[in-house]
Assembly symmetry: C2
Homo-oligomer: 313 residues x 2
Amino acid sequence: MFKILDCTIRDGGYYTNWDFNKVTVSEYISAMNNLPVDYLEIGYRSMPMSGYLGKYFYSPIYELEELRQQSSRKLVIILNERDVKPEHLNDLLLPIVGLIDMVRLAIDPQNLGSAIKLAEVIKKMGFEVGFNVMYMSKWKLYNDFIENLRGIDGIADYFYMVDSYGGVYPQDVIETIDLVRKYTNCRLGFHGHNNLELALVNSLTAVEHGAEIIDATILGMGRGAGNLKTELLLSVLNTKFDIQLDFNALEKAVNAFEPLLDKHKWGTNLPYMISGSNSLPQKEVMDWVTTRFYSFNSIIRALQNQRNKIKDN
Amino acid sequence: MFKILDCTIRDGGYYTNWDFNKVTVSEYISAMNNLPVDYLEIGYRSMPMSGYLGKYFYSPIYELEELRQQSSRKLVIILNERDVKPEHLNDLLLPIVGLIDMVRLAIDPQNLGSAIKLAEVIKKMGFEVGFNVMYMSKWKLYNDFIENLRGIDGIADYFYMVDSYGGVYPQDVIETIDLVRKYTNCRLGFHGHNNLELALVNSLTAVEHGAEIIDATILGMGRGAGNLKTELLLSVLNTKFDIQLDFNALEKAVNAFEPLLDKHKWGTNLPYMISGSNSLPQKEVMDWVTTRFYSFNSIIRALQNQRNKIKDN
C-alpha cells in the first residue's frame, strides 16, 4: 500500500498567509489520528523574512512540540530550497530533531545540485528527506536535471514529481516516471494540482506505475486551483483498495476547513483551467484576469505568445 | 472530431426546478453560437404533471420557436421514457418538428424494449434519436439488456452510456464500450457525473475508445455532484486537440450561470464522493446526511449494507 502525506496546513497556508486558528488545527490533527494518513506536513521552517508571514511559515518550536504531543502521525516540514543556505540548517533544523520526522525541499529543477548538498546535511541530522521537484511538465527540457538524478540515490527518501501547473495528464505521469526511473531508484511521490480535475486520476496512475507516496489536502486546500482532495483519495481507497475508513473522522477533518473554503473559495475555474491546459503560471493568468483591462481572448493570446517566446503585438 | 452536447438548461434544471430567467438563457444561447458545441439540450417535453415544474420541463412551443431563432446550433429535448406512452408522442413531438433536431430518451436499462418502440415512432417523425441509458456501472448485471442492444441499430443515432452514480473509472468506460460494441454499431456517447472528479478523464477515455459525442454543462451544473464542465472540456480541446476557441464567449457562458452556482452550490463533496465510489444513489446519501440523526459511519454502513442486500441491524 502506498503512503499518504496530507499537507493541508502547509499548502493551504497560501490562502491564510499561514495563519490557522488553534481550534481548526487541533480538530484537524485529532481527525488525522483516526485516518489512514501517514505524514502531516504542517508548514515551512524559514529564516526571518520581510513582510508578515504567519505561524506555520516559521513553525516555531513551541508549536511543533504541541503538535508532536497531539499527533500520532509522522510530522513533516518543508524548506524552500532557493531561500535556504547550508549555513542556515543548524538554526532551522537542529532544534526540531525528534519533533519532525521528515524534511522536504521544494526544488526548482535547475537547482538540483544545491538541493542535493542541502539534503546530505539534513539526512545526517537524522531526518527522512523528501525532494519536491517542481514543473514536472517541463523536465524534458532540462537534460542536465534528469541525468543528475543519479545523485539523489541514498540521499532522498522520496523523490516527488510536482505538477506545478496542474496541466499533466495520466500519460504524462507514466512517461515522466519512465524517464526518471532510468536514472534513480529513489522511492517516487506525486503532488498533483487540480486545474483540470485530473489530480485524482494522475495520482492513481502514479501509484499504478510505482509511486509510493501521494500528497493531498483536505478539500483540496492549496495554491490556485488546489490539490488532490484528501477526502476524495480516502473515499476511493475505501472502495477500490478496501481500506477501512472512519467516515466520522473524515467528516470532522472536512468540517474543520469548510469555513475557510467559504471565505477563500479556492478550487478550479476557467482561468485556472486555461493556465493548466497551457502550462502557464496560474498567478499570471489570475493577475491579468483580475485586472480585466483586456479581453479574455487577448490575455490568453498574450500569455500563450509569452510561453512561446513570441514578442507580443 | 467528436461532437459536444451541452445540456446545461436540461440538467441544471434539477437545481432551479427548470426555471431560468430570460437573460440567463439568452446569454447562454448567444455564447454557444460562438463556441464549438454541436447540440444544446434545452429541456424536457412532458405531459402535464402534478406539482410545480418550470418552463424547461415542458418546453412550450413559443419558447422553442424563440430559441430556434436565436440559436445556430442543433437543439435537443429529452423525454423520460418511463413517463411517456406511445399515445403521447403526437402531442409531445409533432408540434416541434422543425424546431428541434434531436429527441433523447432517458432510459432505465430494464425498459430498453419499450424505449425502442418509442424511438421507432420518433425516428419516423424525422428527429435524430438519442438513447441515454442510465446506471452503466450496473449493466453487466443485466444480460438481457446487453443482448437486446442489437435492436437499436438503425433506430438510435446515438447510444449514450450514462454514469448515473458518478462512480465509473476510465477502465470501466473501456470495458463497457467493449461490451456494448459486441452487440451494436450505433454511434456511442458518454454522459459523466463528477462525484469522483473523473468526468473529464472518463469522457476523454470514451472518445479515445470510439465515442462520438460527449455531454457537458457549463460549470458542471447538474444533479448532485454535477456533470463534466463544458468550459473544462473546451479548454482541453483547445490545447490537446488544437481546436480554436473564443475565450470571451466561453467566459460569457460561465458568467451567465455563476450567480446560480453561488445560490445552489452544486458540485462534489464528501457525501457525493461516497455515493459515487459506492455506486449508491446520491439522493439517498444526501437525504440521510441532511437529516443527521445518525453518525456518518452508520449512514454509510446502512447504505452499503442495503446495496449488498444485507438486512440492517
